[in-house]
């Protein structure tokens, strides 16, 4: 069984959209204060959840064909996009440890999924 390019692109798109979910959650989280309303009436958080739902829609579309062993770990590429956006939008530092940590996590997810064959 091989994995069609279209499935890979859909999953890649899902990971890309999902990374914006993280960005909007972080952006909205910065506006939280001691009132529950600041979590409910917060369009940034709502947008973040919206991006996640959209991302899972493309993810499911992508998973319909192809090997899970290939496609599932691809979602975790979202960690890389998220690191990029964290640097651009929130001025967070990109460090060697972050690269190493994310690299290990990605490798671990690939290996873990090999075990689910």
């Amino acid at each position: 069984m091989n994995t069609p390019l279209s499935s890979m692109l859909l999953v890649l798109l899902a990971s890309f959209i999902g990374s914006f979910g993280a960005v909007f959650l972080k952006w909205g989280a910065g506006r939280l204060h001691r009132h529950w309303k600041s979590m409910i009436f917060n369009w940034r958080l709502a947008a973040g959840v919206g991006f996640y739902l959209l991302s899972s829609f493309f993810f499911v579309l992508g998973l319909r064909h192809g090997e899970l062993t290939i496609l599932y770990p691809m979602v975790s590429l979202g960690y890389l996009w998220t690191m990029l956006w964290s640097c651009i939008f929130f001025g967070e530092r990109v460090t060697r440890n972050k690269f190493l940590g994310i690299g290990l996590v990605l490798a671990g997810i690939v290996v873990l999924n090999l075990g689910n064959r």
């Binding site: 959650l25 989280a29 490798a107």
Partner: protein
Amino acid sequence: MKDQLPVPETKSFHFSSRQSVALVLLCTFFGAAAQMLIKSGANALASGSPLAMLTNLPLVAGYSLYGISTVLLVLALRDGELSLLYPVISLTFVWVTLLSLTLLKETANPYKLAGIAIIVLGVAVLGKEKKS
């Protein structure tokens, strides 16, 4: 916070970086429990109708736990670094695999165990990173 609803004159809360990591950790526990419940709910699902889904207790409970886990993530992200906390969510994979091995009696193999070990190592490396 300027364009928000009028804020009472109380001091706003603040999480230390250790507390933020603890919140994400809690978020991964809830996320893993949610995935297990959703899986067992989906297996028991007779049809794909909305009514069948809404009356399926494990499914509803699973999605509720997802909601709680999202709230915890947002609280963690308030004061923590996104690039640091986000990959920690991958621990969810670890808990789900461990729960599947114990509760669903799935068989362990070297790949699964090695994968778990490498993910935990990666999170540990991220955890060593000091907040700027």
